[in-house]
């Protein structure tokens, strides 16, 4: 029983990482109908920036805030410079552009920082925390809490501020938004910025566990895809819950199904993607898109 709870709790911790990245994917998908394959690599690149700032002697939270700010600006710039020119191109072209970004970020990171793994610090204390019968690492708690706090802030932002409302309107109906005087292109750039910001936090939270190297987000991106598919690419809430479910499932299956163990864990994510697409393609919380013809 204790092992079970232990695995659930640590599954929630990694699940919140998947949730953050899945949420970034969903935000961009909702606003532009594009799946950003470079989301994970953008997060990895941001994490390297954090590492460089830490190497330069900055305190952790200063580096954290600096990275978050840089990621936001970077996301906006990528939308403006790379995505905007292909905005009206067929969806496949845009997907290829994001795949190109994936390769570019990966190679540039390898070129600047080399492919040798680097340890990345956690800001949380090293002694474990007791929660009733189980003990969890403080980093697990932080890994869960930091994205959660950000999610709540994001929710309040979208729900209660005029800018958040304008962003939702722009994502939903760009034509009407422009007629209502909302600068849709600016909202899309902001959306990319926020998504990159979320990704960078996911990167910094996961790096202490997987250690930093240019391909560290590869697997996590697949889990995030599984999370977004499970929750529904049209539902931010679904992406978050999907992330937590995937995190817990992955851990439990890895623990209790012997032949899967740790080596085959990633197949669980791919299995989830396939099953969801077969059984309920719109995901648990997604809306099936119906078009009048």
């Amino acid at each position: 029983m204790d092992i079970f709870l232990q695995q659930v709790v640590s599954g929630l911790a990694t699940g919140s990482i998947y949730a953050s990245l899945a949420l970034a994917l969903v935000m961009i998908y909702q606003a532009t109908d594009v799946v950003n394959f470079a989301q994970g690599e953008m997060a990895m690149f941001s994490t390297y920036l954090a590492w460089s700032m830490l190497q330069a002697g900055l305190p952790y939270w200063v580096a954290f805030l600096g990275t978050v700010a840089f990621a936001f600006v970077g996301g906006v710039v990528i939308e403006r410079v790379v995505i905007r020119p292909v905005e009206n191109a067929p969806i496949l072209s845009i997907v290829i552009v994001t795949l190109g970004l994936l390769v570019i970020f990966n190679s540039v990171a390898g070129w600047i920082w080399t492919y040798i793994q680097k340890p990345f610090p956690t800001p949380f204390p090293s002694q474990p925390v007791r929660l009733g019968a189980i003990t969890v690492g403080a980093h697990d708690v932080g890994e869960f809490a930091v994205p959660l706090v950000m999610l709540i802030v994001l929710f309040l932002f979208f729900r209660y501020t005029p800018l958040g409302l304008a962003m939702r309107a722009a994502a939903q109906n760009p034509v009407s938004s422009r007629l209502a005087g909302i600068r849709v292109s600016r909202m899309l750039a902001l959306g990319w910025g926020l998504a990159a910001l979320f990704g960078s936090v996911a990167g910094m939270m996961v790096a202490p566990i997987v250690t930093l190297d240019p391909s560290m987000m590869g697997g996590i991106q697949i889990y995030a895809f599984a999370a977004a598919t499970l929750g529904g690419f049209t539902s931010p809430v679904g992406a978050v819950l999907g992330g937590l479910i995937v995190g817990v499932t992955e851990n439990l299956v890895g623990t209790y199904v012997k032949f899967i163990g740790t080596e085959l864990k990633l197949t669980v994510a791919l299995g989830i993607i396939i099953v969801v697409l077969l059984v309920k393609p719109s995901g648990l919380f997604g809306r099936a898109v119906v078009r009048r013809v």
Binding site: P162, L165, A166, R168, A169, Q172, N173, V175, S176, S177, R178, L179, A180, G181, I182, R183, V184
Partner: protein
């Protein structure tokens, strides 16, 4: 009085297809003008050309200022509110969020609360449903919401594209009664495109007639309603 909107040699293009072949017209401030014409004559395109949703040449002046090179959102911010055909409500936002989204571009935030009260007074059913998702409203209520959202922009000119489309006669009457009230009480000029010519001529004080992308006739609606050609083609008697 100087016209609120003047278009001169306005041409519009969808890709390489020309939909307007140089129309020239002007709209008096405080009036209601309607555009009559067969399907495909370019009525909707005129509205889209004014709000910059389509590529154009020629000039459009609003309150004396050229707006024909602005972005759609900039035209809206200057006080031109366009209610597109098919209403264009935000179906996954609540009624109140739709209305709040309507005034994002507005400069004088002070008038907002007052305007929200005003549209709820015009359309009490929207006040009852303010927390409901717009997609769950009936067609008539969605049209009311679309008009209300346009009013939240605090416009000086309201562009209406087929507001009666697909609605029951009683609902149409109600909406047109309120359009008249909005025009009379607040001096908002209206440019109306409407396939129901009788309804349009009833509401409007000016008319112009569009045929295959050109203005072929214009004048007071009371006069043109008596014209034999118009009666035969658009009123059917």
């Amino acid at each position: 009085m100087a016209p609120i909107l003047e278009a001169e040699d306005l041409q519009a293009f969808y890709g390489r297809v020309k939909a307007l072949h140089g129309v020239t017209f002007s709209i008096e401030p405080g009036g209601i003008t309607t555009i009559l014409g067969a399907n495909g004559a370019g009525k909707t395109t005129i509205l889209r050309a004014i709000s910059r949703m389509v590529r154009t040449t020629g000039t459009v002046r609003f309150g004396g200022e050229r707006i024909d090179r602005l972005a759609p959102e900039a035209v809206a911010a200057r006080g031109v509110a366009h209610v597109p055909e098919g209403r264009g409500t935000f179906v996954n936002l609540t009624v109140e969020e739709n209305l709040r989204g309507g005034f994002y571009a507005r400069r004088d935030k002070a008038g907002v609360a007052e305007d929200l009260d005003r549209v709820y007074r015009y359309f009490p059913v929207l006040a009852e449903r303010r927390r409901q998702l717009a997609g769950t409203l009936s067609g008539g209520e969605q049209q009311m919401l679309a008009v209300s959202r346009a009013l939240m922009l605090g416009p000086r000119l309201l562009l209406l594209d087929e507001p009666s489309l697909g609605l029951a006669p009683l609902v149409i009457q109600e909406i047109f009664r309120i359009l008249r009230a909005i025009n009379a009480e607040h001096g908002v000029s209206i440019l109306l495109v409407e396939q129901n010519a009788r309804l349009a001529l009833d509401l409007a004080d000016h008319v112009f007639l569009l045929e295959t992308g050109r203005v072929v006739m214009s004048g007071l609606s009371s006069v043109l309603a008596q014209d034999d050609a118009i009666r035969r083609s658009y009123l059917g008697y």
